[in-house]
């Protein structure tokens, strides 16, 4: 595993990648962001990421399919589900399928950074949470 945490972001809303990408780079992650889940899956087939953060409702391919794909391809990869349609049943299903965590939108970038930090710790790595600083308009 490389020194910097390799993170893949998948969300069909462009603003999520634009805001979260730099936020995670600050704490020592190498981030690749995709709006198209199909292209994201192709990238996952090329490279093993440490963490995948994926939205759930994305049209043709949803986050659960991404989760299944990642789990089959790279069981060590930690998958974090994010969604604006959080419900108990969906959360439980995601965890049962092997998600590392499930986060409801809206969330603060700070909250996701803390989840990523825990994912890193579970992988035997760490991120520099202290580098994040404080920023306004942090909500997603």
């Amino acid at each position: 595993m490389s020194e910097r945490l390799a993170v893949l972001l998948i969300d069909d809303e462009p603003i999520v990648g634009k805001r979260l990408g730099p936020s995670l780079t600050k704490i020592g992650c190498d981030v690749e962001a995709f709006e198209d889940p199909k292209k994201a899956l192709e990238r996952i087939d090329e490279k093993s990421f440490d963490v995948v953060v994926t939205d759930i409702r994305m049209g043709e391919i949803d986050g659960m399919q991404v989760l299944d794909h990642v789990r089959a391809r790279s069981p060590r990869t930690k998958v974090i589900m994010i969604t604006g349609y959080a419900m108990v049943e969906l959360a439980r299903e995601a965890m049962e399928k092997g998600a590392f965590d499930f986060v409801a939108k809206p969330f603060r970038a700070k909250d996701l950074r803390e989840v990523i930090a825990r994912a890193a710790e579970a992988l035997g790595a760490s991120v520099a949470l202290d580098n994040a600083g404080i920023s306004r308009g942090d909500e997603h």
Binding site: V88, A91, M95, D101, F102, A104, D111
Partner: protein
């Protein structure tokens, strides 16, 4: 992440207690039960017997009794939710199965007693009648106070009948189920529990002055709805904000005053 929660409910107080203790023991979880009422008593100055009464009986139709019961239950709820945020717990006897809702890491279990096992010195028919009477009382109690039927199996994640399964096997089933990933704590479910705790705590804090408030909380934002006369809405809102804003975990308070006549929410500006 810690914070696994198992909430037990049963039509038999004895079985509920026994299985809760054995489950807690098997998993190394602390037990959260009616011993918590002594904390509620000292914090809110309501006598212990009134708190026990609130959890067991249905108040008469006298307004004073109903209000006192709701007040006691509000305090019990706030205190219980605060504890549920702390550690891995097995919880019973505090009505938590009726207000810990939508928290995916809370495993809600219903234990159906075997009447014959409980009543050694009476006939099976008498035992069944007694259990059925208690079940009816609990159904009425939970519907009246929470709008939910605690005897309805569909309210639970797991239902175990002790007519066919003994207590040791029941404990094994519960501990095994609690280990399923679907009941693991996650950021979403922990935040749901935090929001429920904050809303309950705010409601308890406001109760003396505003007994009919409805409170919702999400990520530090608290929304309070209360009934009041239009002419006093600014004063009411200011009073509520003064009480709630300094509370731990509160970032922002919004107050809606419902006009008694028109029953319409009149949102107030910041």
């Amino acid at each position: 992440m810690k914070l696994s929660i198992i909430i037990l409910s049963s039509d038999s107080v004895e079985m509920e207690k026994e299985i809760a203790q054995k489950t807690g023991s098997a998993l190394g979880y602390d037990l959260l039960d009616r011993r918590l009422l002594s904390v509620v008593e000292s914090r809110y100055e309501i006598p212990l017997d009134k708190l026990e009464w609130a959890l067991e009986e249905l108040a008469s139709s006298r307004r004073q009794s109903v209000d006192l019961q709701r007040q006691a239950l509000a305090y019990i709820q706030a205190t219980t939710l605060e504890e549920l945020l702390k550690d891995n717990l097995v919880c019973h006897g505090l009505g938590a199965h009726l207000y810990v809702l939508g928290v995916s890491h809370a495993l809600r279990v219903r234990i159906l007693a075997a009447p014959e096992e409980l009543m050694e010195d009476m006939s099976t028919k008498k035992a069944r009648d007694r259990v059925d009477r208690r079940r009816k009382l609990r159904q009425n109690w939970s519907l009246a106070l929470y709008g939910l039927d605690e005897t309805d199996p569909s309210q639970y994640d797991l239902v175990i009948s002790l007519s066919q399964i003994d207590t040791e096997e029941a404990v094994k089933i519960i501990t095994q189920t609690a280990g399923y990933r679907r009941f693991a704590p996650m950021t979403y479910s922990i935040n749901c529990l935090r929001d429920a705790e904050l809303a309950s705590r705010v409601r308890a804090r406001l109760w003396e002055q505003f007994p009919n408030v409805k409170v919702r909380a999400k990520g530090g934002t608290v929304v309070v709805e209360t009934k009041g006369a239009l002419r006093n809405k600014m004063k009411t809102a200011a009073t509520i904000k003064e009480v709630v804003q300094p509370m731990e975990g509160v970032d922002y308070v919004e107050v809606h005053v419902m006009n008694k006549l028109f029953k319409k929410a009149l949102p107030l500006s910041r």
